[in-house]
């Protein structure tokens, strides 16, 4: 018997007037999962979260939202028993820290005798000293402390689902890294399902069990961080998460291992893919670190190789990016090749601007895109 998903979106649509905020959203979230919704601003991720929280309702006949198997389309937020951390924390400015944290317990009619203990426990859970902070007002806290109060206010309810709307956006980088780890640990230790909205791809890759990448009101791709990063299905996903080089061409002939594609910069092989038809357009994405650069004629056998000229070398510390211009009839295609930095002072790489070179990669290392 398969487990009932904690959250399920089935064909959910939401329009505001003429504006289609989300279109045909489908996904299921498993119990205890750290699930991220990732996308640029205006992609519909916040609307998706608000649909789950109950601040918005799906359109009529606009699909169903289920929580633990129950349809909650028309349920008000306070009937849903979920917790949420807001982007700007939304701490009640007129209530002290402890009163903020106790608010949800009071609303749930928890007996007054139990409240102080639970508040204290929640504060300790987010590593806020109750003796020091309980009586403070939100205005007297730093950004990071507010963040922790907001988290405690949500966790004190022992929710099965915790929604987080870009909660780390407003704090500085170092603290953010720290909080990322802490959130991930809380997710695992409490067994609470986290639904995390962010526009920061690195954050999503670091923390999530699975990611839904949203683009233009739809889910563009759903998968584990590795699936999303290594097998982007669309040009958008490939571009939005990490860096990618794109090559296009026309499918010429099918061999045993894949297709031979004729591109403006030369021929290359791609693996077999359902989206490719004879004579049809093909687009592929290759990560810079999966590309290699070699002297003309020195490409390893069996790899795709396109000829070009080194146009720039960029020093990034851990790696170096060698930019290669591949002539393509009307203009050049800029390709980025990542090369491991083995010490430029002792063992500098041999590439400098103007060198003739070939860019090569194994056919299996490229990702065929569905939107060619």
């Amino acid at each position: 018997m398969s487990e009932i998903p904690v959250v399920e979106f089935a064909g959910v649509h939401k329009t505001f007037g003429a504006y289609r905020a989300v279109v045909d959203i489908n996904f299921q979230i498993r119990k205890g999962e750290f699930f991220s919704i990732l996308g640029p601003s205006g992609c519909g991720k916040t609307t998706t979260l608000r649909l789950l929280a109950g601040f918005e309702e799906p359109d009529d006949n606009g699909g169903t939202v289920r929580i633990a198997g129950d349809v909650v389309n028309k349920k008000r937020p306070y009937e849903r028993n979920i917790a949420m951390v807001f982007q700007n924390y939304a701490l009640f400015p007129h209530l002290s820290v402890e009163r903020n944290i106790a608010f949800g317990l009071e609303m749930r009619k928890v007996s007054a005798a139990d409240i102080p203990g639970r508040v204290k426990k929640a504060m300790e859970m987010v590593r806020l000293d109750p003796g020091q902070f309980a009586r403070r007002m939100p205005a007297q806290l730093s950004g990071g402390q507010r963040q922790r109060v907001a988290l405690a206010r949500a966790l004190v309810l022992e929710p099965t689902i915790l929604l987080l709307d870009e909660p780390l956006g407003a704090i500085d980088l170092k603290l953010r890294k720290e909080m990322q780890l802490e959130l991930k640990q809380l997710n695992k230790s409490l067994g609470t399902t986290f639904v995390y909205v962010t526009h920061d791809q690195e954050e999503a890759l670091t923390m999530s069990d699975r990611i839904a990448v949203m683009d233009n009101a739809r889910v563009a791709q759903l998968g584990t961080p590795a699936e999303i990063y290594e097998c982007p299905r669309t040009r958008f996903v490939a571009k939005f998460i990490g860096e990618s080089n794109f090559f296009e061409g026309v499918a010429q002939s099918q061999g045993p291992d894949g297709w031979l594609v004729e591109g403006p910069g030369g021929e290359f092989e791609v693996p077999t893919h359902a989206a490719i038809t004879q004579g049809g357009k093909v687009a592929i994405a290759v990560r810079p670190e999966w590309l290699d650069i070699a002297a003309p004629g020195a490409a390893p056998p069996g790899e795709n190789a396109l000829r070009g000229t080194v146009s720039d070398v960029i020093y990034l510390g851990e790696t170096l990016h060698v930019l290669v211009a591949i002539p393509e009839g009307s203009g050049d295609r800029r390709v980025t090749v990542a090369v491991r930095n083995e010490g430029q002072l002792s063992r500098p790489i041999r590439w400098t601007k103007g060198d003739a070179a070939v860019v090569c990669w194994k056919p299996a290392d490229c990702q065929v895109l569905e939107d060619a």
Binding site: A53, F55, P77, Y78, I82, F86, N88, P93, A139, G143
Partner: protein, 265 residues
């Protein structure tokens, strides 16, 4: 802050404008303690003119009428204005922009026009002119001001706070009483103070819609100013000044209390 040197003539000019604004009132206050009944030569300090005020029944009655009118018109206009502001800030409805624009008309309409048009209405429907008609008029010109003040506060308020309360389990009514009202309270109070001050000060509109037995303090003072010249006017003016200054000071304090709700840094 970047320091920009002010030319001395500019500072002097501005000082002169401040003098122009405040010296007349200061003089008025000072001479309310002058012994001499005639003229403006200083003959000695006295509180005689203040004591005299208590002997004048018309002033006592005027003060009472002003307080009654002020309090009741403030309560009504604050209540109605706050409800309207809530509707405008928190709800989408057809004609919302039109409603917002409409609310500014009473603010720009000259008092005299408000006064006489109400007089026409009251006479037309045979409504007796008295305290009641004055209260009605004061509410009519105060509502818009209350709406503007409360609306500003509401619009500066973070909607997420109400949503946070709801997701924590508070239904709409609980959210309203435990979150919205406490946060809106300073706005409501400063709107109320504003309404009371305007009601307490109004002469023009009141003069048209008042009737026998309903002379508010400004009506009495106007008559005194007209008939002239007894230092009692200085004394009552001073009292009015003190009352309104205190109200304005309080409203000003409330208007800009602590950080306005946005919990970001």
């Amino acid at each position: 802050m970047h320091s920009l040197k002010m030319p001395i003539w500019l500072t002097a000019f501005v000082a002169a404008v401040y003098a122009f604004l405040h010296i007349p009132l200061l003089v008025l206050v000072v001479f309310s303690f002058n012994e001499s009944k005639y003229g403006v030569s200083w003959t000695g300090f006295t509180t005689h003119w203040y004591e005299r005020l208590w002997e004048r029944q018309d002033i006592i009655d005027g003060l009472k009428a002003s307080v009654v009118v002020g309090v009741s018109s403030t309560v009504i206009s604050t209540l109605l204005g706050t409800l309207m502001a809530l509707a405008i800030a928190r709800h989408e409805f057809r004609g919302r922009r039109l409603m917002e624009a409409f609310l500014y008309i009473p603010i720009v309409t000259p008092e005299i026009v408000v006064g006489i048009s109400l007089l026409i209405l009251f006479v037309l429907v045979n409504f007796p002119l008295g305290l009641m008609s004055v209260v009605i008029a004061h509410v009519a010109f105060n509502i818009s001001f209350v709406v503007v003040v409360v609306l500003a506060r509401l619009q500066g308020m973070d909607r997420n706070l109400e949503e946070a309360a709801m997701i924590l389990g508070a239904d709409e009514l609980t959210t309203f009483w435990r979150i919205t009202v406490p946060l809106l309270w300073p706005g409501i109070l400063s709107g109320a103070m504003l309404a009371f001050t305007m009601s307490f000060d109004d002469y023009v509109i009141t003069s048209f819609v008042t009737g026998t037995g309903a002379s508010t303090l400004p009506i009495v003072v106007y008559t005194m100013v007209r008939k002239n010249i007894e230092p009692s006017i200085n004394a009552i003016s001073t009292i009015i000044l003190v009352i309104t200054s205190l109200l304005i000071f309080a409203a000003d304090r409330l208007g800009r209390d602590k950080p306005l709700v946005k919990s970001e840094e």
